[in-house]
Amino acid sequence: MTAETVQKSSDGKGIWLLLVGLVVVNLLLGFFLAPRHVALEHAPIVQFPNFLAFLGVPGTWLPAHVTFTWLVMALLVAGSLMATRALKAVPGPLQNFAEVVLEAFFDLLEQMIGKQGRQFLPLVGTVGLFILTSNLLGNLPGFQAPTANWNTTVALALTVFVWYNYAGIRKHGLAGYLKHFCGPIWWLAPIMFPIEFIGHLARPVSLSVRLFGNIFGEESVIGILISLAWLVMPYMIWLGVMLPLSLFTAAVQTFVFIMLTMVYIAGAVEEGHGEEQH
């Protein structure tokens, strides 16, 4: 049921046009602008080469984490299209799975944000599925998780930052939202405002560093173990210890990211500033 309500709103042609346009723009950007950004790319030990450069297409292409971001996007778009293309009253396995995932997100949203939580499904669901897919992708040998690069996680964290502030401003108005920053007592406002300001600026930093650090550290350890695989013992450590551990990390870090996103949104849109109760 929920899959219908969410997916009906997007008409079929527009989304394909948008996707093709995005790919074309990205290819052009990659062709003309990439040389300046190559220096930003970190070089993990185990790294699958960039697809297009690997196929021998000339030109300087985007760094690997962007390519793998496209791969994750393609997986998610294809999966959701396949799950929702032919909706039935008695769902097949794929539609069933999509409904279970959606219901889980809805439950979580209503639990953390409250009655108004459902409207934030587009942000929280997209971010959660993207991060989970990326983290799991990093566990396949030869693939690199896009979230193991700080650029990706900064983009995610900034999206969340802009979105929750926008939600707060839309809910309370600019003045009402700024009143959140000024503390409970009026003469404390000059001290509370910078503290709140710094606290809000620190949120995207901690969000992005936490996700990037966990995934990158895990991939580095796995890379070192694989580079020593001829000793046999590191290979067994990888299979026995690091692989279960990194599957666990993938799930927990996804959960932490979307949980904090919902905490921030809940803090921005919640009713009443406390003055009414006094």
Partner: protein, 74 residues
């Protein structure tokens, strides 16, 4: 799915946010103070003040992320 974990895992996930939240707020406060000092030339004072602000903001964020403060001011 990560959403179907038992509540112990959920609390572990919440607890694992502690370290980075504190450090990030302190670092942002330090950076702002240092930048203002470089810009205004006011010696070490703004760095000290904003680092203190950053530490306080870190604890505030910590309590909020852990859900110990439901409302902003409780």
């Amino acid at each position: 799915m990560s959403d179907e974990e038992p509540s112990v895992l959920r609390q572990l996930a919440r607890l694992s946010t502690v370290g980075v939240a504190l450090v990030a707020a302190t670092a942002v406060g330090l950076a702002i103070g240092y930048g203002l000092d470089r810009w205004l030339g006011t010696g070490p004072w703004l760095t000290m003040v904003f680092t203190l602000f950053g530490i306080v903001a870190g604890f505030l964020n910590l309590f909020r992320d852990l859900g110990l403060l439901r409302r902003p001011w409780r």
